[in-house]
């Protein structure tokens, strides 16, 4: 097996008595882009420093291009392995060109001077990283994003086979993060790249493989969609995530759930939410955080509110996409309304598919109904039923439904109701 450009076997690394890495193994195919992820202090940077021979492992070996790195001379290693540090504090005012030319250092003796070839290599490295226009600027006077690109150019000038990057994007804004990662992505497959990242989504988008670390160990390694599962992220980071497929890249992307433990028990109140088209998400999240017993529906299964309800663990009456509300669903809906202590109608558009949800609300004496209308759009503008929905809304309001302008106001009104109930 020589297809591995970089290989780490059973690495144990420690600072003094504290073990930072425990039997970490890693195999990196030539030409691939590997992202190392993990929480702070899990040993990502230590792993990188071990791979670049800054740290010597207590146990285990690292081999590069089929040879143990311990066998390379400092100079030889630098011609095969380039490292882009997180941030370099350069104390002296070197120009960007001078910094990039330093990438040729491992190829030069103390007395030899730079040849035309060296200049050409550096020029190419600067073209690849769009830093040519910075050549005469001082490294101390350019922005963080520019400096990061210059450091990548310097590493490229070493003409390495493997490039290690320590959180190359952590100090950058989102546009520079994407720019820098696109540059790095473009280096493969000529260069094998291993990077430590904090941003799960950027790593998922750009890396071929992900190595997930926790407490000095590798807990998962593989393609982004194999490694970045909600379960694994919850185990390693302790954060609830929803994993979706990015609509454009097809890569996984992760969104935090922002789960909060209920701050109140909601007085045992059962609230039914009539929503649709994404208008119910904020309400459902807020009410579930307050501990109300929630139900929702009837909703089409491909409605994003249905997804939200499912993710929040809210009982939903669902219909298959584009199907009309079935008699069974209507009956289930009626049963929920019979048992509900309050109903919230969100600012949803009403059409043939969901008008029955409104019809069922009329004539229910004693059921408090809250009509949420944050934007204040007249009913008629989201009425696609030719006036029936508007008419029902008028009836509901005449019969005592309460118009609510915002979710916090809704929480307040429901709070009053819960207090009365107790």
């Amino acid at each position: 097996m020589t297809a591995d450009m970089l290989r780490a076997e059973d690495l144990d690394v420690g600072y003094g008595d504290t073990k930072v890495l425990e039997s970490v193994s890693l195999a990196v195919n030539e030409g691939s882009f590997i992202g190392i992820l993990g929480p702070n202090g899990c040993g990502k940077t230590t792993l990188l420093r071990t791979l670049s021979r800054i740290l010597r492992p207590e146990e285990g070996t690292v081999s590069l291009d089929g040879r143990e790195i311990a066998d390379y001379s400092v100079r030889d290693l630098a011609t095969r392995l380039g490292v882009v540090p997180q941030e370099t504090g350069v104390p002296f005012a070197f120009t960007v060109r001078e910094i990039v030319l330093m990438g040729r250092h491992p190829y030069l003796g103390p007395l030899s001077s730079l040849k035309e070839e060296d200049y050409a290599i550096c020029r190419r490295a600067m073209e690849q990283t769009s830093t040519v226009h910075l050549a005469d600027r001082l490294i101390t006077e350019i922005s963080g994003g520019e400096r990061q690109r210059v450091l990548i150019a310097r590493a490229l000038a070493q003409q390495p086979k493997v490039l290690l990057l320590d959180e190359p994007t952590s100090h950058l804004d989102i546009s520079h993060q994407i720019e820098v990662l696109s540059i790095i992505r473009g280096l493969t497959p000529r260069v094998t790249v291993i990077g430590v990242f904090h941003d799960l989504n950027l790593a998922a988008c750009f890396c071929d493989r992900i190595v997930l670390m926790e407490k000095g160990r590798v807990v998962a390694a593989g393609a982004p969609e194999e490694v970045l599962t909600a379960g694994a992220i919850n185990q390693v980071f302790g954060v609830g995530m929803m994993v979706r497929t990015h609509p454009l890249t097809g890569r996984p992307y992760l969104v935090p759930r922002y789960d909060a433990a209920p701050t109140a028990n909601g007085g045992g109140l059962h609230v039914h939410i009539v929503c649709g088209g994404g208008t119910g998400a904020e309400t459902m999240y807020a009410l579930s955080a307050r501990g109300y017993r929630l139900t929702a529906g009837v909703l089409s299964a491909n409605d994003s509110d249905c997804t939200t309800a499912g993710a929040l663990g809210i009982e939903v009456i669902g219909e298959p996409p584009f199907a009309p509300v079935s008699p069974a669903s209507s009956a289930a809906y009626a049963r929920l309304l019979d048992g509900a202590d309050a109903v919230v109608v969100t600012e949803m558009p009403v059409g043939a598919g969901n008008i029955s949800n409104l019809r069922a609300l009329t004539g229910r004496q004693g059921l408090p109904i809250f009509v949420l209308a944050p934007s204040g759009t007249p009913f008629s503008e989201r009425d696609y039923t030719g006036g029936e929905a508007t008419a029902i809304f008028s009836t509901l309001c005449r019969d005592g439904a309460v118009a609510v302008r915002s979710v916090p106001e809704l929480l307040e009104k429901l709070g009053d109701l819960a207090a009365v109930g107790e």
Partner: protein
């Protein structure tokens, strides 16, 4: 090149400027020859060599410590040298001062290095701090020696101020070894550029950092040790010259070190020329360099362009 030319002109001018109060034209050729060749020229050359050495060592230390406030004495050289010289004055009535100064200077550097060494590595910050600690310790010993020196206190104080009295051709011979050291530093120029970005960056760029540190410290303490033994601890040349030259020629050590050598030589030569001609009786050159150096340095700090 301009610096080189200016240095040559300075050497000639400084040789002809004297404090004897006599016009050269009044003297017979033999006396002129003796005066110029036996007294002034060695002194001029020693000042040139010492100035060049201190400036080159200063440039190297500033690069190694990544700090333009570093100077060649930062690793304990001057206090070690001073202690050695004072010991010689107090205990041996001043015999072998240069030898003692050289040994003191280099020994203190080695001690500082060994204190800072851990697991085969030397942290730059540790080096800096142990340099300060060792210097303070040696300074206390020096104070003790001065306290018990009695009659010879005057001699110690004079030595500490630094100067080029009684420079002979032998001293010039010793001082010329400085040039070898400077060449060594020049060879490290490219490595110095890289290490000034940081130890780890330097390793990644193929520099054997620990070996380079040993080389730089050894060469610098060697140069400084010789400079101290020839002329005492002359301040500010090693601090200001590289700093100024970095503003002018940029931070590339392959240019900076030679440029600093020229500039250091010119500066110290003129400082010494002033020291021996400005007043009726000669004053220690260390006073001149500090008197002009410190305000100039403050001026630089407040008007930096390329730092």
């Amino acid at each position: 090149m301009a610096l080189m030319l200016f240095l040559c002109v300075s050497v000639i001018l400084a040789t002809t400027i004297g404090s004897s109060g006599l016009s050269l034209l009044d003297l017979d050729p033999a006396t002129i020859w003796m005066l110029l060749f036996d007294y002034r020229l060695p002194r001029v050359l020693a000042a040139v060599l010492v100035g060049a050495g201190l400036a080159a060592a200063g440039a190297a230390m500033q690069g190694l410590f990544r700090n333009s406030m570093a100077d060649p004495y930062i690793i304990g050289t001057s206090s070690g040298g001073a202690l050695g010289a004072a010991a010689s004055i107090v205990f041996l009535a001043g015999a072998g001062i240069p030898v003692f100064a050289f040994v003191g200077a280099t020994a203190s550097t080695i001690v500082v290095y060994l204190i800072s060494r851990r697991d085969g590595r030397v942290g730059v910050e540790t080096l800096l701090l142990s340099g300060i600690a060792v210097s303070l310790f040696l300074a206390s010993l020096l104070s003790l020696l001065m306290y018990i020196a009695g009659q010879s206190l005057h001699q110690i104080v004079f030595w500490l101020m630094g100067g080029f009295w009684n420079i002979s051709w032998d001293d010039v011979g010793i001082a010329s070894v400085i040039l070898i050291g400077c060449f060594g530093l020049f060879l490290c120029g490219r490595d110095l550029n890289v290490i000034s970005l940081g130890d780890e960056d330097a390793v990644h760029l193929g520099v054997d950092v620990e070996r380079l540190k040993v080389a730089l410290l050894l060469i610098s303490s060697f140069i400084t040790g010789i400079a101290v033994s020839v002329a005492g601890a002359i301040g500010f040349i090693g601090l200001i010259t590289p700093h100024v030259m970095r503003l002018i020629v940029g931070p590339d050590h392959r240019v900076l070190i030679p440029a600093s050598m020229m500039a250091g030589a010119i500066l110290l030569l003129w400082a010494d020329t002033f020291a021996r001609t400005l007043f009726p009786s000669e004053i220690p050159v260390g006073i001149v360099t500090s008197f002009f150096g410190a305000p100039f340095f403050i001026y630089l700090l407040r008007s930096r362009t390329r730092t």
